[in-house]
């Protein structure tokens, strides 16, 4: 019972095009929502990228991290859109 594995997409890689951004942001939103709705006794594991090992992490920490990444993604997405708009204007 204790374990429920979450696979937070730890991709720090910032997608370069807008649709990829939307995809990653969508995933990140799902993760945050899932984590926020977890029961307190649930265990959260994070997969070591490029491997098959899952490390146990604290649920609240995972939630905060996911929220931070989500914010970053949103910011990056905003900047990208602005830059593209300016390019179009030019």
């Amino acid at each position: 019972f204790p374990s429920r594995s979450q696979k937070p997409d730890f991709s720090v890689l910032v997608p370069k095009n807008v649709p990829a951004f939307a995809q990653t942001i969508k995933e990140q939103k799902v993760v945050v929502d899932e984590l926020s709705n977890l029961k307190k006794n649930r265990k959260v594991y994070r997969q070591q990228p490029n491997s098959n090992i899952f490390f146990l992490v604290d649920r609240t920490e995972a939630l905060s991290q996911c929220k931070n990444t989500l914010d970053q993604l949103k910011k990056a997405h905003q900047e990208l859109e602005n830059s593209e708009k300016t390019k179009v204007k030019k």
Binding site: S5, V12, L13, P49, N50, N52, I53, F54, L56
Partner: protein
């Protein structure tokens, strides 16, 4: 530039293919770069994990059983890592060492990424170039190939090929020529430039007529010489006289041939005007050289020319000193005929300072004394004065005159070591008559200030200076001449000159 037509190897299809290939390379490079960046990011994550792994003694993990199954477990020995070296060889090392290994691999990855980026840029530029090529290759492109077919006729050069004149070659008529000399002939005002040979010759004829008239009047011995008189004969006579009197020879010929073509040209102009332009330097030179050989005098062909003028006479563009010499000889003859005594012939001849120098030195001294300093200075000054504008010449520094005269002297000396003095004398005589008309017509030649180089001839100098301010060197020569012989003749001469000038001016 390719021709739009297609004869060029760049056909649109080939260019398009080339561009496609370049673009392929670019895209593959981009993919590779993406891959390597992914690897780099993986390594960074791994590195981060390895750094934090030793922080704890144990980690609760899910241990994978195959791709699908997990079982809870504990990760212990967090500071002990086995690193894949390659080919399934592993080495056991600490987390910290593992981090270093990861760092080393990251460098390699970065290098690969950089290389790929360079390649990509290179091919991107090639793509741009191929795009330009496509534009150019398209007939409707932005670029148009401009071609002009060259016909054989078009290759012809404008006019005739220019060839350098030989020293004795006849001057082209076409050359514009300023008539400073004409001023000597008294009608200088009208002279201007003769555009055509006909005009020039007509002018010359007029001048000759005038000269004849003048000769009848006996005012201008120089100009007096008529065309009918043979320069050769007159020269010979003059030469003989000179030989007798001074023994000086005319260096003009040599000078004309060698360094002083310009001066020579001027002298030639004078001669022509005076004589009708029948004689050329070569003839004069021969005559003068033969006659002068006896006296070791240094003659400067220094330009008697009031100014350096390029005369576009049909035959001889440049006047030669020989002509001047002839003129001087004629003058001397005339003068001799008028007043028997050296003074009389010389006086008429000395219209220009240069003439004065030559005449006085040669005739008056009679001593074939090659006074280098005097001759040089005089000849130089004369040349300078003659070259430069008459009025301005007086103002010119003695130095310049000296330098020029020196160069002339040297040249003359080199050419004719023995006959230099004689030649100078002759030249001076010639120049004098030439200048005399000018002075008579216009006081320009001597109008300038006279520079006294030699203190010896103060008494004599003032007269020449006054008479011919333009020619400082002449003054010196005059002074010397006067000093040597002249007290007798010079005074008379000066008076005559002054009188002639006064008459002219009046």
């Amino acid at each position: 530039m390719e021709a739009p037509g297609g004869a060029s190897p760049l056909s649109p299809a080939l260019v398009g293919r080339l561009r496609q290939e370049h673009e392929k390379v670019v895209t593959t490079c981009q993919e590779k770069i993406q891959h390597w960046k992914k690897v780099e990011s993986d390594y960074e994550v791994l590195q981060e994990r390895l750094r934090t792994l030793p922080d704890k003694l144990s980690y609760d993990i899910m241990v994978p059983f195959g791709p699908l199954a997990f079982m809870p477990g504990k990760l212990v020995n967090t500071n002990e890592v086995t690193v894949l070296l390659g080919d399934n060889w592993f080495s056991k090392c600490s987390a910290k060492q593992a981090v270093e290994l990861v760092e080393h691999r990251k460098k390699y990855v970065r290098k690969a990424v950089d290389d790929l980026q360079k390649v990509m840029k290179n091919f991107e530029s090639r793509v741009e170039f191929t795009e330009d090529l496509q534009k150019m290759s398209d007939a409707a492109g932005d670029f148009v190939d401009i071609r002009e077919e060259i016909k054989d006729d078009s290759i012809e050069t404008k006019g005739k090929y220019r060839t350098a004149h030989k020293p004795h070659s006849k001057p082209k008529v076409s050359d514009a020529f300023e008539v400073d000399f004409l001023a000597n002939g008294r009608d200088t005002k009208s002279v201007g430039r003769f555009q055509s040979e006909e005009e020039l010759w007509a002018r010359l004829e007029e001048l000759e007529r005038q000269e004849e008239i003048l000769g009848e009047l006996d005012r201008m011995p120089d100009t007096v010489e008529t065309n009918g008189e043979d320069t050769t004969s007159s020269e010979e006579e003059k030469e003989d006289k000179r030989m007798d009197l001074n023994g000086t020879y005319r260096v003009e010929d040599c000078i004309t041939q060698g360094n002083f073509q310009k001066e020579v040209t001027n002298s030639d102009l004078f001669v022509r005007h005076v004589n009708g332009s029948t004689y050329y330097h070569s003839d004069d030179e021969d005559d003068t050289d033969v006659g002068d050989s006896s006296v070791p005098t240094i003659f400067f062909s220094h330009t008697v020319e009031p100014k350096r003028v390029r005369i576009n006479t049909g035959k001889n563009t440049t006047l030669k000193f020989s002509e001047k010499k002839e003129e001087a000889k004629r003058k001397r003859k005339n003068s001799n005929g008028n007043g028997h005594g050296h003074a009389t012939p010389e006086l008429p001849n000395i219209k220009t300072p240069a003439d004065i120098y030559r005449v006085f030195v040669d005739v008056v001294n009679g001593e074939y004394v090659p006074r280098k300093s005097i001759l040089k200075s005089r000849s130089r000054e004369n040349s300078v004065c003659s070259d430069t504008s008459e009025n301005s010449a007086a103002e010119f520094d003695d130095r310049r005159g000296v330098q020029r005269s020196i160069s002339c002297d040297e040249a003359t000396q080199s050419d004719n070591s023995e006959g230099i003095l004689e030649e100078e004398e002759e030249v001076g005589q010639q120049q004098l008559p030439k200048k005399l008309p000018a002075s008579s017509g216009t006081t320009e030649a001597f109008s300038g200030t006279v520079i006294e180089k030699e203190p010896l001839s103060p008494s004599l100098i003032p007269h020449p200076v006054i008479a011919h301010p333009v020619l400082p060197t002449i003054l010196e020569q005059k002074s010397e001449e006067v000093l040597s012989k002249a007290s007798e003749e010079t005074t008379k001469r000066i008076s005559k000159f002054k009188a002639a000038r006064m008459q002219q001016t009046n």
